[in-house]
Subunit: 381 residues, 2 copies
């Protein structure tokens, strides 16, 4: 058969996890990986080694047989890549006009304000004086962010004094990433909601999930978010659909939210499969990876319903176990779905995740966390 070809820029675990979905659907996944050791390198059907900043690598990614569509597993896509896609007549999804709101937090906040969607109080800052004024107006503590380049807690800093912004302000003045400052939201918890949208029209939203972060990195996700008021769940889904529509997102969009007293505030956007959606592989009829492929190929979207009353995903960050391959023998919970990303272990690096499903939330959560700890550190099976 003449398989559709999806080209992906970026060879991390998000591209890797698209491969099983592509295999099932008979889609050829061609991935631009930074090296042969990349997480996606083995799993992809075809690989091109190179960086997105390398015009020759992009040329090979788009070469005949041409991909039907090009998509991304991260936001750091140079504008030249979009130009190359346009020159080649190949659709880039999500497109440059959408992706810039996931690339740049200042653009994102400004657009959310325009759309009347719930931002925290925020402002761009260029001087310590501006930082000081913002701190004074918002309780003496705030979140400083670089507009571009951040992920997993990087590019984010909680500050209590303007002096703590000094280095980033200096870097910004020298042409480094612009800065914004946000009021520290006194949230009850963090939620996330994912939606897929296809260019031909049609969207599908997964259940709203609760996400627990540790040191700025996602640690566990529970689907659905426990005891979430029905009106807030509905509001979260409305926000996701409104963002997807207004920004003309194609593919999967993740909206991270803060739940505050009876209301929601937008935290971040990602226009790709996202850690908060890994639970869908084992817990939903359609995984975010299959859905992303369907959406960017403008195919009918799959059912986003959960298969089980509770699904819990626990990340595995690099820990005491040096080689994760040995973990497979140690996890004896027969319902623990282990996902290893084929990456070298480094402390704190995301190297895998474990998902459990079940009728009891507490038990399902405990099983996921226990299995992830065994994968990470070893210990009793």
């Amino acid at each position: 058969m003449n398989s559709p070809i999806v080209a992906v820029v970026g060879g991390g675990q998000l591209a890797r996890m698209m491969a099983p979905a592509a295999t099932a659907l008979g889609i050829t996944l061609r991935v631009l990986v930074e090296s042969d050791e990349a997480s996606a390198a083995d799993a992809a059907h075809e690989t091109v080694v190179g960086l997105p900043t390398d015009p020759d690598a992009i040329r090979r990614l788009l070469a005949a047989p041409h991909p039907d569509v090009v998509t991304w597993e991260h936001e750091h896509i140079p504008s030249e890549v979009f130009a190359a896609c346009e020159d080649a007549g190949i659709a880039a999804r999500p497109g440059a006009e959408a992706l810039r709101f996931a690339q740049d937090k200042i653009e994102m906040r400004a657009r959310m304000d325009e759309l009347g969607l719930p931002n925290p109080p925020w402002h761009t800052v260029e001087t310590e004086h501006e930082v000081e004024q913002f701190l004074a107006a918002h309780g003496g503590e705030a979140v400083l962010k670089t507009a571009r380049g951040g992920y997993d807690g990087k590019g984010v800093r909680v500050i209590r004094a303007a002096s703590e912004a000094h280095d980033w302000l200096a870097a910004a003045a020298k042409g480094g990433p612009r800065l914004l400052i946000e009021a520290k939201v006194d949230f009850r918890r963090e939620l996330a909601v994912q939606v897929a949208r296809r260019p031909g029209g049609g969207s599908a939203v997964w259940p709203v999930v609760e996400s627990i972060q540790r040191e700025g990195v996602c640690s566990e996700v529970t689907a659905p978010a426990p005891e979430l008021a029905a009106d807030l769940a509905e509001r979260a889904r409305e926000i996701a659909l409104a963002v997807a529509e207004a920004l003309d997102v194609t593919g999967v969009l993740a909206v991270e939210l803060f739940e505050v007293e009876g209301a929601l505030v937008i935290n971040e956007l990602a226009m790709r499969p996202h850690n908060s959606g890994h639970w869908t592989i084992d817990g939903s009829v359609t995984s975010q990876f299959e859905q992303h492929l369907r959406a960017v190929l403008d195919l009918p979207l799959g059912d986003t319903v959960a298969m089980s009353p509770w699904t819990v995903m626990a990340n595995v960050l690099g820990g005491a176990r040096g080689d994760l391959a040995s973990a497979l023998a140690d996890v004896s919970d027969p319902g623990a779905k282990i996902h290893l990303y084929g990456k070298r272990v480094r402390p704190g690096r995301k190297v895998g995740h474990v998902t459990t499903t079940g009728p009891d939330r507490t038990e399902t959560y405990r099983r996921a966390v226990d299995a992830a700890a065994i994968v990470r550190d070893g210990g009793a099976a």
Copy 2:
């Protein structure tokens, strides 16, 4: 990480469908494919092109970095391959002593008799006279089979006269496959049960399924088998476990059964993932493909429970649609899980399957059959 390596002999859809499971677990799947066009070629992490009868191909399959284990996606494994594995000190699972009972139907029937497991009346035959005697003793109609080489209805012939056996008897006399004859079982329906067994001990059985064959080829599978008496379900699971244990099967074993008035009769054995178990990909906590990898690597086995009250798998055989890639746009049922094998369409060839899950059996069945028909022939979405 130092991924475990599983080598697979045979590059059809069964090897292909092992790849997503291997990717999730961080296992490297190295597949011996007959050509670059093989179903598994794109999906496998590493491929070796060649036939199992080619010693050089086997050498490359077993070369450094050496696989941890070698397994099969079909039964047609020359004894030289087992010898090569033994020479290289690499485990072959299932082993030669087990696999011969899946390779040779005469050996299988004889062994089932020894074990006191339920065979139909049967006999080896070498002459028309023997065929005539068997027909006379069993109602004038019987099933003639070649002991080796059959699949999907090939090597099986229902006969009513000894003359219909003439060509096969002549071939057998000239060194072709030996023949056996079996009483035609007046069955209510066909069932199948799958079990996984690891060398270190431990087995796991999936729910018993009902399998509907059309023209000798599996057409639909319903899990669990509807309205199956509890004692028969228990008996089916006992048979599967007894066969796995007695034959020292490692990996996944499928036992195809006939349900007759209040009893079961063994039809065939397969020591590998099997068409009757494709439903487990979308319908069970652990798919037969993940479980086979776990079992042959002697890892803890996964949970075999169903995720939904009903799961129905419908095969897609080659039909009116010439290129299946176009089918993805035509199936609008959001819960239809489409699996395409990347094979060229030929009439009647297995080229994919569709799985649906749901609370209502009739509806779930209808959805699977409808979606498979759209994939096969096109038509309204």
